[in-house]
């Protein structure tokens, strides 16, 4: 156990916290935008999986990682289009739409993957490498943790204030939050509710897809069945635990990533703490938070309720 407190291990735990956290952060900020617009998209897992697969496909076909990033974004946006069509146009129950999307994504990616690799060795690619930021990366502890990471990690950390600004300081954000709180307030001002919902869900899902793509391009070299392994559900839990606010979601994602990192390191140093317990902690913590926040929930009032005039 005491090995845990060696500097190298601590740095490793923190650095891997950041690594685990950043793909989730893209997806969580994307889902935050989606849910703030009133669409409870349960299809995060499927969207991330599709983003990851699209990134893998393009990376192995073209060898260009940035094209692969673009592919993940486009794949995510398309998944968002499906969700928007089902929820904003057809007014399907949001949960059913999302669950359907997850099943679809799980099946389709596997099918495409198998058609793609049929009769040959699985192609692999070499993903993003760490980018050391000059000077800053030499600072002890903080340097290797924060300033020696993948390029997209820096982008992910910047996304949080950007999303905050979008939501709370831009006129688009006010309209977007209005969608989640009372879409009729926009309707009576002559603005299209469904057009805004489409935009919000597609933007949010594009970011969610990017999260899946980053997971693939930053930390793997190949696609596997069920590649995202439940991270999409962590994102949804993080949104609830973060009380639908950018800073809260950031803290929740960080905490979950830290627990996962800790669990992995505990296994490595052979500590006698059940690894599964640590992995279950985020969910337990969320349930606790939900009970505690019951009286001042930031949940958008019309989240998950399809909008129709009268």
């Amino acid at each position: 156990m005491s090995q845990l407190f060696q500097e190298a291990i601590i740095i490793s735990i923190l650095a891997s916290t950041i690594r685990i956290m950043t793909p989730l952060l893209f997806s969580a900020m994307g889902e935050l935008i989606t849910q703030r617009a009133g669409i409870w998209n349960m299809g995060v897992e499927g969207t991330m999986l599709t983003g990851a697969f699209a990134a893998y496909l393009v990376a192995t076909l073209t060898g260009s990682l940035w094209l692969a990033v673009l592919a993940a974004i486009v794949a995510g946006a398309l998944m968002g289009l499906v969700i928007a069509f089902m929820t904003a146009t057809l007014r399907v129950d949001h949960f059913i739409a999302g669950l359907g999307l997850n099943l679809l994504a799980g099946g389709l990616t596997l099918y495409w993957f198998q058609s793609y690799i049929q009769g040959r060795a699985q192609p692999i690619f070499s993903g993003f490498q760490d980018v050391d930021i000059p000077l800053l990366s030499d600072i002890p502890v903080i340097g290797p943790v924060l300033f020696s990471q993948r390029a997209l990690t820096y982008v992910a950390l910047l996304v949080v204030p950007v999303v905050w600004f979008l939501l709370y300081r831009s006129r688009y954000g006010l309209e977007l939050r209005c969608l989640g709180e009372n879409p009729k307030a926009l309707d009576v001002k002559g603005l299209s509710v469904s057009a805004r919902q489409y935009l919000a869900v597609m933007l949010g899902s594009a970011m969610t897809g990017l999260g899946g793509g980053f997971l693939m391009l930053g930390f793997s070299d190949r696609f596997l069945a069920d590649f995202t392994a439940g991270r999409g559900w962590i994102v949804i839990v993080a949104l609830i635990a973060g009380n639908w606010r950018p800073r809260g979601v950031l803290i929740a994602v960080t905490a979950f990533a830290f627990l996962e990192s800790l669990a992995t390191h505990l296994q490595v140093v052979g500590a006698q703490v059940p690894h599964q317990l640590l992995l279950a902690l985020p969910y337990l913590a969320s349930i606790g938070l939900l009970m505690g926040l019951r009286f001042r929930s930031g949940q958008p009032a019309r989240l998950g309720i399809p909008y129709a005039r009268e």
Binding site: R171, G173, R177, C178, K189, G190
Partner: protein
Amino acid sequence: MSTALRVEGLTKRFAGVTANDDVDFDLRRGEIHCLFGENGAGKSTLSSCIFGFYRPDKGEILLRDQPVQIASPMDAIRHGIGMVHQHFVLVPEFTVLENIIVGTQRSGWRLNAAEARQKLRGICDGYGIDLDLDAYVWELPVGRQQWVEILKALYLDAQILILDEPTAVLTPGESKVLFDIVRKMCARGMSIILITHKLVEVMQSDRVTVLRKGRVVATLDTPATTPDELARLMVGRDVSFTVTKPELAPGETILAVEGLSARGFWGDAVLKDVSFSVAQHEILGIAGVAGNGQKELFEVLCGVRRPAAGSIRFKGEEVAGMSPRAMMDRGVGHIPDDRFREGLVPEFSVAENVVLGWQRSPKYCNGPLMDREAITGLAREMIGEYQITTRDEHVSAGKLSGGNAQKIIIAREFLHASGLVLANQPTRGLDVGVIEYVQTQLLKKRAEGFAIVLASEELSDLFSLADRIAVMFKGEIMGIVDPRKVTVAEVGVMMAGRRGDIAASKERVSA
């Protein structure tokens, strides 16, 4: 006087129901023009067509004598038409300012609140509206939320303002302020369409168009007409607005409430130290603007909500905190205010609804099975006795009109009640004919020796039915008055929070 807006031959159908049939309507510049009619007469449909919320199937809308296409609220706003909806369209989590400016900015990324703030200050000062622009809407009382709605329209430079039942949530005092400001708007050249079913308000307008079953019955100059004539036009026959209530001496005390308090979901006090009593042959009216604790009071009395403190004695027995079933078994009948959500299960048939709550009674079941014959028999009997208009007893209750739904509830509650009937807003949203029927039924129960607690937002109802009126404000009783000795205005002042004559209650308690 020039015409601000004209509607010609407007027809609107919904799935076979004609809501507006060849409606002609014109609005002059600077006038208050009332749209008057019963629920379902087509007032709201007409205004929704003018506001672009619905697209008429036929007919034309002309602005300043030019035909215009109003395909969406966007078009309406561009033409200077604003609307205050009956159910406010506000975001409680936003500030007043945010509610007003959301979706109005046309350029730039950043929210530009400074300009909006200045413009709103100007509007507020001009009309003498006092409103904190940075308050969250959830913090505001309902009466002030209405100002936010009105400011939303004024901010968008509305020249024609549609007010849909604007006084439903206001005290008489607040209504007067509203009318004063609306008059100021007219003086500045705005034109107002006022939708209402209250005669008192119609009489304050310049002209009135009466709608019945989707058609225009008449357009009249208000000063040249009388409430009686308008009521007759609205219903299509003579109506007596005053039901005859025989003088009856109160008998034994049935319900005595002492120091009753209750808390809401958030732990806030929704009822504070409420005391009153009701005797046989007596109707106790509960007056108050919606949301001042009436609903909670009824919930506590029928056992749905647990009281935090106080005693409720029913026929001498302490019943505070008993379950709704225990209260039903003791003979308390309850007519809740939301008939399709609390009074009935809309998906269930008329017969199932008639027996609802008494399905365990051996009269209507055989062991674990429902006795369909007995239930059907009962339903048929009730349909006959209470004149419920339905094809048969298998129709789902949700398909019936509000009036017939209410009759199902009344039939069920009157069948089992003995001694006490709790009626919360029993006539809200009903047609005049049905209102008369419900009132007559309540008076019949009064004559039979029941004690009745009756809450209504229509003071005229209480003045004609109640023997005493308790006025509620923020969960407290401001006073209990004798309707023969006070005026509507005096009760109105108490509804706004002024304490009144509690003596009437003291008399009764000591008697």
